[in-house]
Every structure is written in C-alpha cells, then in structure tokens.
Amino acid sequence: MKRLHTLMFGWEYPPIHLGGLGVACQGLVRGLMSNGVKVTLVLPNPDAEREGDLDVLYPTEEMLNHVHIESILSPYDTFDSYGMRIHTIPAGRQHIYGADLGEAVAQYTAASVEMTKDVHPDVVHCHDWMTYEAAARAAKYHAKPLVAHIHATELDRTHFHPNEWIYNRELKGFTMADKIIAVSNYTKNILVKHYGISPHKIHVVHNGGTFPVAETSHKMHSQYGYKKQPMVLFLGRMALQKGPYQFLDMAAKVHASRSDVQFVMAGDGDMLGGLIDESVRLGLKDSIIFAGKVTNGEAQKLFSQADCFVMPSLSEPFGLVALEAVAQGTPVIISKQSGVSEVISHGFAVDFWDTAKMADCVLTILRDDALAQQLSSEASRVVTQLTWEHQAMAVRSLYHNILHT
C-alpha cells in the first residue's frame, strides 16, 4: 500500500514557539510519522527540529522578494498589544513571529505554491489562521483535499471581541477546508455557533502529549509529618483568555477563609502589571507570588509542590497545562469553558465566572486529604492514554476517509 503523504502547513514549531500551537503541531507530526504517514512540513523559517524523514520547507529570500504587508499580528495578541509584542519577542525570533506578523503571513502565503510544487501529497493539512490561505492555495494547486486544524480561534483569544480581519481569515479557511479538525468539542461548538460551520464537517481530535511522570508526590510531606503551607497554582500567560483576574478573585475568597494559603501565579504577559496592582488591592500582597515565565523544569516543580492547580480560562480550546498538572499528581480545578475538561474526568470543572465555587473547591481539597489523594491518584491515568501516537491515528483515519469517499 502506498504510504500516505501529508503536506502540512505549520506556523510555530519547536524550538521556535511561543504557545501551545508549536507543541501540538510537533506532537501531531511525530504521531503521524509513527503511524507511518509521510509528513512534509512547511514553516515560515528553517529552524525547526528535524527528526526521522521529516521534510521541512520554508520560503527563501528569493521567493519573498515581492511581498509587502503592514499589519502586525500574532496568534496570541490583539491590536492593542502590538507594541508590547515587538519588545517582548527575542530579537533572534522576530523574523518569524515578526515585528510584522501580517507581512510574514503574506510572504508565507505568496510562496506556498512555489515552495511545494515538487511535493506530491495526498492531503494538505494546516494549523490555525496564519496558514489557512497558504494551504488553500497549495491544495488547489495539487488538487488535493484540505484539512484545517483549529487549535484556537480568534474568539478564544479575545473573549469574543474578535479582530474582524483575523476572524474573516479563519472563516474563509473553515469554508475552504474539506474537513476541519477541532481540538475539542468545546471548540467544535464555537465553530458551529459563531462561524456557522456545519457540525458534520468538524472532527474532534483532542490534543495528546508526552508528560513527565511525577517522581515523588508532594503528598509525601504529610506522610512524614511535615506540614507545609498550602499552595495554589496558576500557570499560563497573563492574558485575558487565561482568566488571571478570575484566579485573583478566587484567591481573595480562599484567603478570607484561610489566610495561610499561598498563591503562585507563573507566566508573563501584558496583564502582569495590572494583576499585581489588583492583588494588592485585594489584600493578597503577602499571600501571592508572581513567578514570571518559568522553564519546563520549573513548571514541573511548581506542579509537584502545589496542593491544587487552577485553570480559570475564559475560553480554552484545549488547555494542555492542566494535563501537565495532572501528570504530576496535582488535583486540578479547571474551567468548564475548556476542551481539556472533556478529557479530565477526575477533577473539578467550574464555570470560569463562578469564582466562589472555584474557591470552595480549593478549600475542600485543602481541607480533606481523602479528596486530594483520590484526585491525585485517579487523574493521572488519563495522561497515559492521551498520547500523540494514539491521537494521530484518528487523524490518519480522517485522511483515509476523505480520500476514499
């Protein structure tokens, strides 16, 4: 049997990535390859981690000579934060998440056919709005079906106040695609409800991951009689979408009942300053630590030290970070407005606005050891099932279905 060949248009990809998109994209590429699918990956830059027989294509200077666009956008920003974005992106990376993302998207799009003309794929697959137009052109050129993968919509990032230009590019991509892969039913519902896409066109494939397993549980402390100060963790970008203000609200409510609880907010973002002010206003000055951006190793350590992890996202297409917490045996309280709540059954799922309930879940976990231990021991099983190798099988089946119907 001929080996399936997918021509994949990605945007960020390790080692150059800012958010979950790059991680998910790499996971899927690896998963597909391990399922015997040949992958040709198109990226805006040549720096991707190579492995196996992965082909990576990117636009050369020569191809880019003729395009010019003004807008500055990133998948994690709104117009308001352009200035911030330019300053916060490391100089060496500005050429891909550009000082001008719009221009980079346009260049990438313009070069898409040129880059891929020697490839002979069975299917074209693309990730989020930056790549949709490029992939659509390539699909048309190769006369192959187009699969649009949606990791996060503009509505998630802006709490339903979208930038129209991006929204329209997303909508166009969804319309042109033969099939859409959504990372959760939550996202599928957004596409149906807010983009008017037929549910029959959308397939849900939850993200997978490879999670480091906890070495020792923090529960060991109480076993040896060492009573540490309870700690409640937030980890994510300090951006509207992630619900950092909801976390502070929750923290204030917990603090009112138990002043011994420590809160840690890890991550950076344009809201950090305002959050610090708010935490002072709420009287949490001595109970909260803003840890800034943390490395993977530091994140793991925080998870293992935390008594519970709270993810109060306003709209979270998936929310891999909650699975990372669960892998460390940390009880989680997650927003019902998230995709990951569909796969984590051993945890509390609460509406993001219901910070009183969130606080109550935290307090119950801190008060009742039986509950904390039950959550800790049950929840982590899900991460052993949710591998990219397994999730990519669903993507491969989808390819087969498109090609044989």
């Binding site: 799922a349 879940c361 119950t364 509950l371 959550l375």
Partner: protein, 454 residues
C-alpha cells in the same frame, strides 16, 4: 408445572444535596436541595410512578393470577408526603386490591447493615412501622438496600421475624445452580448476646422466624427488561411479551424472580420504547400459558406446600409467645439453640445460598464497590458512622433525622469513580457533575453536622 413469576419493584428517591459551601459550615443551613428534589420527584412521578401505577391497577383488577410486590423506601415515602400525595394515593389504591405485597427495608435506604447493627435495626423497625401505618400490613419479607446480602444479614432478618429475604442470584454463589427456587442461608449462630440484645430493642415483628428463605433475583431475565429492553444492538430487540414468556418458561424451576427498579417503567426505559405496552401484555400472555405471578410471601407459601417445609415460626412455639419480651425470649431460646434449618429426611433438601461475603445487585461486580472502596467514599462512610453515638446522644430528633438522611446509599454511589471516565451508569444516575462534586457537598454537610454536635 410452570414456574411462578415473582415481580418486585424497588421504589426509591434520595434526598439530593444542596450546593453547600465551606462558608456555610457551622451556619446550619438546610443540607438538601428541596427545589431539585421536588423537580426530580415530579418528573419521575409524571413519567413513571403515576402512569405505571395506573397500569398496574388495571392489570391487578383484570388478571386474577397477577400480583406484585414493592419496596418503598422511607425517604421515598417522605418525599411523597412532601411533593406527591397523588403518588402516595395511587400506591394506596394498589394496596387496596389486596394483591400487592410491601416489603421491608431500611427506612433511609442506607448501608447501615454494613456499618452499624443498632442503626440498621432501628431503621428496619422504623420502616416496618411506616409501611404498616400506611398500608395496614406488617411486612414479612425483607429486602436490604440494593439487595446487599450476606449470611449474617439473613440471620438477623430471621431474628427480626422475616420469613423471606431478597438477594441477587449471583453466579459466583450459585455455582451453576438455578436461581429459580427459594434457597436457605447456611446454618450458623450469630454471636447471640450482643446481637440479640440489639435486635430485640427494635423488633418489627412479634417474634423471630424459625427459618428464612432467600429469593434470588434471576438477573438475566430481570436485566432483559430493566437494562436491555431498548438496546437496539441487543439480539433480543425488540422484546415482545410472548418471546419473554418463552424465555421465562424455558428457564424453569419453581419461581422466577424478576426484581428491578420501578423507574424502569417510563424513566430508565422511556414510554416511547414501548415498555408500558410490554408490561401491559405480560399478564395476558402469562394467563394464557398458565403462569401465575405471585408475591414473595405467596411464593414461599407455595414452596412450603410443595416441599412440606415449615415456614415461619413453628405453631408449637407460637403458642408460648406472649406479648412481653421475657416470654418471647424464653420461647426463642429454643429456636436459637438449634440450627436455623433442620431438614428431615422425608422432606426436600433445600439448597444453601452461602454468601460469606456481601453480594448486591449493583454493577457487574455485584459487590459493595459501587458505594465503598475509593478514598472519598471510605472517608465519607467513616465520618457518618463514627458520629452515630454523639448524634444519638443529643436526643435531638431533627439532628438525628438529618444524620440519617445523609446515610442514604445514593450519596456514596454518586462518589463512585470505578468507571467514571467511561461514562457508566453512575454518571447516568448522578445529579451532580462528578463524584468529586458529590463528595464536596456531602463533606460540607458532614462538617456542619459535626459542628452541631459540639
């Protein structure tokens, strides 16, 4: 000789907990969500209780050889009084036909049989009293919560005066034998002093029974109706009364016990599945085939007649039994001093159902793992039963009642995490988002209750 049918339906609704918060602990707010309990009760009343009772009444009046049994939990009856006098009235009408037997159970549909003998006895006595108040008949057959059964419970029930007890016809205890005849528990003595002293304080019946028979649920045929009826992937779908009766007849034996939740009719199996038509057709088909549907007591009477077995207290001992406890004790010491079951060589040798470990009708495991075993269930059970003494010492009837309502088995069932990820029946039955939510609400109630003790 065709087998008899024994139909028993469980009727129960728990008091679901309100969304309590840690900040409510110590405030002595109500623990239960009256609105939700009302809404669920009315929904099930309209979908199941009222239409099913109407149909049952029609069938009982029409078919001479058709009788049924119910076990109505005490908390269900209280909710009837609170939310559905119409439902209670319809059960009264059924009772008035004289063809309905009401079984005994723990008033609070609790797991007290596994945790506290005194509490268990009190709840059984309370329930028997409630049933006899409402329906004018003292129950003679006992059905423990979720058919939880072991040898000890059988003998305790016997000492409480019950002549029959219901149990799951679990394969691992039947060892290939048919569930279709009454069994007896193995002979053994309970620790006499402690147990008797506890039991005699709560004596629902005037005297112990000489022996007790175990009626075993035929789970294959019962579950064909209760679980598989509307399953389109099931080979038996769609199930007709004639086909089902064929299966019943070929199953053979003395009595086929079809035990199920009453909510099967209209609630678990919706009306549009044809479950009511199926039920309506059964007595007619049975009548045509010469099959009779008997109550559990009638099954045992018939069994006695056929096997020459003495059922209930021996007439000789009965003469001596007076109303005062001392004369009862005197008469009974003779009974305890010999094994429960002494077959004479001339009579049919009854088969033993030996449940050394508890069995139930729940889940595929048929054990207690639906209610206990994970940390949150065990912590909750421990918490509720460890405060028994302190709660009772208050003598405060309101507090004692609240404590008892928290013993209802459903609270622990909702906390089950066995197959939680796979969307199993626990999820279907739970009014809460998750086992953890069930625990959170329960734990707050327990903490509040504890604060009321000090």
């Amino acid at each position: 000789m065709h087998p008899h049918i024994c139909l028993y339906f469980q009727v129960h609704q728990p008091y679901r907990l309100d969304d309590l918060r840690t900040t409510d602990v110590g405030q002595h707010k109500p623990y239960f969500d009256t609105q939700k309990n009302h809404d669920i009760f009315r929904k099930v009343a309209e979908k199941c209780y009222l239409p099913a009772n109407k149909l049952m009444l029609e069938l009982l009046e029409k078919h001479a050889h058709f009788s049924i049994a119910y076990s109505l939990s005490g908390v269900f009856l209280e909710q009837c009084e609170e939310f559905g006098q119409d439902v209670l009235d319809s059960f009264m009408k059924l009772a008035a036909t004289g063809k309905v037997e009401f079984l005994a159970e723990t008033y609070y549909h609790s797991l007290s049989s596994m945790h506290s003998l005194p509490e268990f006895c009190e709840q059984v006595a309370m329930h028997s009293e409630k049933i006899s108040d409402l329906f004018g008949v003292q129950p003679r057959v006992f059905r423990n919560t979720e058919l939880i059964f072991n040898n000890e419970i059988a003998h305790i029930a016997r000492m409480m005066g019950f002549v029959g007890i219901l149990a799951e016809g679990a394969d691992h205890l039947l060892h290939g034998r048919s569930p279709n005849e009454p069994y007896v528990p193995p002979e053994f003595y309970l620790p006499e002093e402690t147990h008797w002293n506890i039991i005699k304080k709560n004596f629902p019946n005037a005297h112990p029974a000489e022996k007790i028979h175990v009626l075993l649920k035929n789970y294959k045929l019962s579950d064909d109706v209760a679980f598989r009826f509307s399953d389109k992937s099931w080979i038996g779908y769609p199930l007709k009364a004639e086909t089902f009766t064929d299966w019943v007849m070929s199953s053979g034996g003395h009595n086929i016990n079809l035990f199920m939740d009453y909510e099967t009719f209209g609630e678990h199996q919706w009306e549009d599945t044809g479950i009511f038509e199926f039920l309506r057709a059964l007595p007619q088909v049975w009548e045509e085939r010469g099959i009779r549907a008997l109550t559990p007591s009638a099954i045992l009477e018939d069994w006695k007649h056929n096997t020459n077995q003495a059922i209930g207290i021996a007439p000789k001992e009965r003469e001596h039994v007076g109303r005062d406890i001392s004369s009862i004790l005197e008469a009974l010491s003779a009974i305890w001093k010999r094994p429960a079951h002494v077959p004479s060589p001339m009579t049919y040798r009854e088969q033993e159902f030996d449940a050394h470990l508890p069995v139930s009708w729940a889940d595929t495991e048929r054990d207690l793992s639906a209610w206990e075993g994970n940390r949150i269930q065990d912590a909750s059970l421990e918490a509720i039963y460890e405060m028994e003494e302190a709660v009772k010492a208050t003598g405060d009837p309101v507090l004692i009642t609240e404590w008892r309502k928290l013993q209802t088995s459903d609270h622990f069932y909702y906390m089950c995490t066995k197959y939680w990820s796979d969307g199993d029946v626990h999820k279907y039955f739970s009014p809460y988002d998750s086992p953890y939510e069930a625990y959170r609400r329960f734990s707050h109630a327990i903490h509040d209750l504890r604060s009321r003790l000090s």
